[in-house]
Amino acid sequence: MTQYHKYDVVIVGAGGAGLTAAINASKTASTAVLSKLYPTRSHTGTAQGGVGAALGNIEEDKPEWHTFDSVKGSDYLGDQDAIEFMCQEAVQTVYELEHMGLPFSRTPEGRIAQRPFGGHTNNITGKPVQRACYSADRTGHMILQTLYQQCIKHNVRFFDEFQVVDLLIEGGVAAGVVAIEILTGELHVFQAKSVVIATGGHGRIWEITSNAYTYTGDGVAVAMRRGIPAEDMEFFQFHPTGIYKMGILITEGVRGEGGVLLNNEGERFMNRYAPTVKDLASRDVISRAMYLEMRDGRGINGKRYLNLDVTPMTVNKYAIEDGRTKPDGSPYVVTAEEILAKLPDIIDFARTYIGVDPVSEPMPVQPTAHYAMGGIPTNMFGEVVLDKENTVLPGLYAAGEVACVSVHGANRLGTNSLLDIIVFGKFSGLKAAEYAREVNYQTLPEDPDGFSRQQLDGILNSNGEENAADIAREMKDVMFDHVGVFRTEEGMQKALDKVLELKGRFKNVKTADLGNMFNTELLNLWELGNLIELAEVTTVSALARKESRGAHAREDYPERDDVNWLKHTLAWMRDGNVELDYKPVTITKYEPKKRVY
């Protein structure tokens, strides 16, 4: 029997964006948070290096510099009004986190500690600036914990292990969501005035990824099935430093603390690709440089990886070369103890998974699928917008990685994802509650759980021959090979053909678990269906964009083309096919220019 619930605001997802929305919405509106995981399992907890805010605790910094760096980092595809808003709000929002109890690492004066990160610069000198506010190398963990703790304090209502499978829209207005309770297999209809989607990204499309098993693009897939477009899906970030073969993230904070990337000749090759900021160039630039090094035979031992070296000897050597100093002007020198204290989790990961001790030897790394710049289109208040005119869908909000504001454009700067979730989580939550105060509940559509039942029954009744794990592996392989760091028409077409073949084969998948209680196979299959659709949307969007910009690097169109392509992609899924349109980028203060680091 389907159960019914009614809340002013329903938030889908309990990572940083969802929890921040919940804290803010629940102040004035009845609020429920639905999450397929226990909130503290959310992917925010894996973020490591820091959250960007121009506090200026260690050296001069200002939100204007942060804004420009983010615009430049986005390769001018980010909407500048939204980026400016985010960077201005950053300072206050980080203080709010501190006031909530977030245990930031501290400077000798007792202020929030900050470290350099890729693409964040002093706009006068062009040198790296210390802007990433951090808690050792577990900043995301501390943000997630602190937000969840505040939700407990404020008695936020959670529905843990509820998987949302459909979004209800009636008469062009949000009406609620439908979720399956994982424990019992029962469906629940949540009627709501406002729905906030905060379900995170979809890196599981690719073979080598830093993303959790559960990062399967549920929010975008659910929204697209209800006619909402996905924006800029061709832009997916490959983080330069994932553990070789495993993809586990090694924070950019390692390079912030002075670590460098070395090729098989022991050369610090970023000197050649980004002479000013070197290993602290933005992520797309470094991932491409790594590919080129490996292509030209300079991978370590001829293999597809490079060395990330944070041993004190190496760090101190290059600190002298770079003329890096401490805040008091003395030369920058680190000890093994300091590395251990600042990067404890990284040390632990390297020791556990590859048997490497980073204070005495380098770590083998390769680019790893990391972050979706694209997603559900929103304006800077988190309201979901439907078309090139930015028409708002009343009552529907999205925030965090699932959303595309767009503040990251074609390439996100490190530390701006944690910033995104707390800033836009906050404003979407406030806006959702404000809207809920003004309106009555929208009527539920007829047979509200019908489409959910149809989807899930389709999987449960699927008694074909196809093995889901094989389908997933084939998708991940082809996407990593051909819709990865470098792309070509031929490769992407091959990927698209494969993904369409897999989409067909998926209809013939074999289902073993027909039970109601804790049927994880049912959920995993439903998630795989989402991934395949988003792989298709990603590839179709990428094939159409005949230029190179940010994370979308085409060997056949190597230059950025502002005349034809300074615009956002919008992709709809209509009758099983992807349809594309475009909308303009908002440019306020910064005219596009060549991007050099």
């Binding site: 995981l37 501190e98 109890g101 963990h141 304090k153 559960t214 889901a468 039970g515 804790f518």
Partner: protein, 234 residues
């Protein structure tokens, strides 16, 4: 190398009592136990159920017993295990829902009972509160907790009475009791001084030994005990 995965199985919809099933498979020494579970689910039996998410020891979803010890399945490599026969069972002291999935609600109830959030009603400054590096260091270790429940479900005192708040909840309390910005230390210590509180701990050290985050759990519990006994937070 070939390994045999021997897994605790229980389907509440069809089974009267649990049983074990074995799956033989090829494994690399560097495979995570979680990789083997995923392989078994993908190629032997799709009904095999367990929780997992991040797969690198940060989210805390996949606490299970591996060859008798509480571990995260994603943080144990095949080469670390002495035996090629790997037994995987649900953690102890919690109701089994299905296979390796246990009911986590009582665990989170204990967590919520110790006021696991910063309490400070003084108006905050316009910037951050000042906290020295030394003050931060005082509770740094217990901020690492990922609520995986390895510690609590390895504790004989918890096994003998699940009303005991357990090590994880005490770690959460410790994180705030010793935070210089917090003002509810006395209240939390009062909660932990009751008959289901901190004095149920008999310093057996199972919790410390199995913590995947290497938190010195027993030491944290000891500091809370001492604070209760002395009435002082030093």
């Amino acid at each position: 190398m070939q390994v045999t995965l021997r897994v605790f199985r229980f389907n509440p919809e069809t089974d009267k009592k649990p049983h074990y099933e074995s799956y033989k498979m090829d494994a690399e020494p560097t495979d995570r136990v979680l990789d083997l579970l995923e392989y078994a689910k993908s190629y032997f039996d799709g009904t095999l159920s367990f929780r997992r998410s991040c797969a690198h020891g940060v989210c805390g979803s996949d606490a299970v017993r591996i060859n008798g010890r509480n571990r995260l399945a994603c943080k144990v490599l095949v080469k670390e295990l002495k035996s090629k026969k790997i037994t995987i069972e649900p953690v102890l002291g919690m109701r089994v829902i299905k296979d390796l999935v246990v009911d986590m609600e009582p665990f989170f109830e204990h967590y919520r009972s110790v006021m696991p959030y910063l309490v400070n009603d003084e108006p905050p400054p316009s910037r951050e509160r000042i906290q020295s590096a030394e003050q931060h260091e005082r509770f740094d270790d217990t901020t690492k907790c990922i609520l995986c429940a390895c510690c609590t479900t390895s504790c004989p005192s918890f096994w003998s009475g699940e009303d005991y708040v357990g090590p994880a909840a005490i770690v959460a309390a410790h994180r705030f009791v010793f935070d210089s910005r917090d003002r509810a230390g006395a209240e939390r210590l009062k909660i932990l001084n009751d008959s289901f509180g901190v004095f149920r701990c008999h310093t057996i050290f199972n919790c410390t030994e199995c913590c995947p985050r290497e938190i010195e759990v027993t030491r944290a519990i000891g500091e809370v005990k001492k604070a209760i006994a002395s009435g002082k937070l030093d």
